[in-house]
Symmetry: C4
């Protein structure tokens, strides 16, 4: 049937449509894909609503299998058309693409597994790449860089906060005790985290005078603590923003600190 | 009756009174308008209190229609006196002015629509313009500029946070289940948003051990997450404030944005 | 009895003891005063606890009158010894000193007025002045300056937030209605403020699906909103900190931007 | 038996194993120690869960005594091998090491004291030192420096916030009263702290109209207040990061801290 060359051309054409968004066909494919993903996630959400499941359960299961077969076909085509299949399969989006179809198959053995299908939503993050939202990508990258740069400080902070929570939680367990809802140390640590992060559900709250005094103290401490991650990230971002200085050195007077768009030395006027 | 010229002069005079705040009459009109707006919003609020509505319902409805007829007259006068009526009608304040009178008329058909009258409050934002609070306007502008500059970063952040909320909410739905209040995925997403934003109503809260452990993990993550928008806005504001750029313009090439200590133009090398 | 000169000397001596903290007697007086204030505030707090009031009510009332007579005497002595009594009486601490004794006398006519005595606590703020905690005063001043400098931005922000709260609250009143706890627009505005500030008591929380969706939207918006005041204050503080540059100009080469401790020009080496 | 020299060598060898992490034996010891600590803290937590204690109480008590004897032996060895025992015993980790064994012995007299054993977790903070996570140590140090530098500002802030809380709490006690849950001034202060820190349990919440209005006002104020510690820490961190100081030392007067673009020493005018 197909000659080898024609098959090759077809595969390359398919690759363009599936992986790129430069051609009209590629763009149409990507937009259609996003709509399909959002629809399938919507179906999973609707299925979780008991009254809706009772009324339209069969239709939802049918749609779910339809979406999954579609995404399975797409995954296989991606594997076939891509140059290095293994590399794609182990990349972030390759794994997400696989996880986006597995739960439906798993739900045959494990009822309820289909709810993991919401992971499909991660595929929508491609929207930024697909629609060539270049400026958004740069901003996302800037955010990611700031977070990665403050990675170590945040880990040190989290270890310190967790240790603090364990100790404060144990203290409250001793002060309040099981009769006031602090039934065990792990549950008291849960309360301590709820309090220090200022979430404050109120499902467990101190009732003795000493407990309320200690809790007040913890909350006041929490003030200073919540300031720390904000400080870390902000300092990093301010820092990242403040680097529009060229590394160019004036060949005549060796002055540094020129703007990136400078053509002449700002000190001596020599051409850079 | 009126000659054309006198009508024209009257219209211009009216325009000055209604739209400007330079003349004593214009200022008096604007202050009176603001008081009327606040009074009408107060009346709407009072009407929503059941006991008050039972006692003074007729008087409130009467006042409401009075305010609305007054604002309708004012809206028509604005349309008549302004140079380009369509432009005014489609401007921000033009739309607000219209929305501020529609609900009363709508309430004949749709009982309850009159509560939308609180949108009248947006008209009070004119207070900044009216009272010539120039410095406040500049500060408001600075805030708006910082928020607009960080627009894209905030959108990237919100898309990421929403995706995270959907996935975390679904996970909690699986862990806790309908018997602990997580009755569906949309409701679990609602819980997840309530938790990550550190609002923490406590109307839904995890009860199983695994659920509380997962919630603790989510809250700790929320620490880092809440730091991000603060970091974005702060970095932008610090950046806006830091403007050590000279106002000098190159006499040769008219380039701007030189450093305060620059001696030569960084574009063309001419002496500044 | 006393000669006029001796009375004058006694008055000056008393002034030193009461108003200054340089002499040992003055320091002793101030420390004793602070202890008395803290004790009297403690007594007011204890009186508010029903079980304690039942057991020791008479003793507490006695102590209260004792403290009040003591502070009244002190207030009169301050008025007598100070050079310009009216100026002292209308100063911040003069008013606080008066407010710190009035409630007890008022409580004869108005039972319960004595709880206003906690305002005495403001007198303790003198501790910073008294104990010559100069460095703390400078830091407090830096904080106050940063807050005052961002005053206008914060007012613009608060007006915008209040308008937003009124509109969001009214919307939720329409969506949820009285049967879900949103009994009136003012109460819905209270809920809106509780949500946007991320306090989240949970005494009122949305129960309908549309209400929870709207609330989620409000909370996500609250993310960006809570970042704004932090951004304002932080930018102001970073800005305040970054000014260690001398205004000195080199007399030889007119270079600017020297460190405050520079003695020689960093560009040409000339003595500044 | 042992010659004095051999004993000395053994002691030095033991010191290396226990205190250092350079040799394979030292590293193995430290990793084993961390695992043991985590296991013992886990046992304490499990003991606090009533159902678990009922089933495995004896085994847990046995494990606890085992861990404590082990840690006691280790503490004694540390005292013996270290050069200056008193200095170690009074150092931060020396005290933590002692506190990590005392509660078990105390629990003979005071049942429940064993829960203080969670303080053992502080020993795990050694993990940073042990595993030579040098970069983490630097980051931790940077955090600590930023917090210490803003120490005074934070204390001023906390004193101001506590005073505010006492006054606001007393006001709410008068407005709401005991019948709405504000049973005493200390409890109202607890509510005020819960609100201003945006924790918001909802165990106590205002019910009267005036109380809800006042609470709304307090929360709006809380907006500005929560921005302050964040601003303090962030400004400090941004400041720490911004170190555009040259490492050049003046060859004449050894002055440091020159600007990166300095040509002459700012102290003595010598060419750098």
């Amino acid at each position: 049937m197909f000659g080898n060359a024609r098959l090759h051309a077809f595969r390359r054409r398919l690759h363009e449509v599936i992986f790129e968004a430069d051609t009209p066909a590629g763009k149409t494919f990507d937009v259609a894909l996003i709509i399909t993903i959002l629809a399938s996630v919507g179906a999973v959400m609707l299925e979780s609503i008991a009254s809706f499941r009772a009324a339209h359960g069969a239709a939802l299961r049918f749609a779910e299998w339809g979406f999954t077969l579609l995404f399975t076909l797409e995954y296989l085509l991606r594997l076939w058309t891509v140059g290095r299949p293994l590399r794609y399969a182990t990349s972030f989006f390759g794994i997400v693409d696989l996880l986006a179809i597995l739960p439906t198959y798993l739900s045959i053995l494990l009822p309820g597994a289909q709810y993991f299908l919401v992971i499909r939503l991660l595929r929508v993050l491609r929207v930024f790449r697909v629609l060539k939202l270049a400026q958004y990508l740069i901003e996302a990258d800037e955010l990611r860089r700031a977070l990665r740069a403050s990675r170590r400080k945040i880990i040190v902070f989290l270890v310190a906060v967790l240790t603090l929570n364990v100790i404060l939680g144990s203290l409250m367990y001793l002060v309040e005790g099981a009769e006031n809802g602090f039934t065990s140390i792990p549950r008291s640590i849960y309360w301590s985290i709820v309090t220090l992060t200022t979430v404050g559900y109120g499902d467990i709250s101190p009732r003795t005078n000493l407990g309320q005094a200690l809790a007040s103290f913890i909350m006041i401490i929490g003030y200073a603590i919540i300031a720390v991650p904000t400080g870390i990230v902000t300092a990093e971002m301010t820092w990242t923003r403040r680097r529009p200085v060229s590394t160019q050195v004036c060949p005549q007077c060796a002055a540094e600190g020129h703007d990136p768009d400078a053509v002449f030395c700002k000190r001596c006027g020599a051409r850079l």
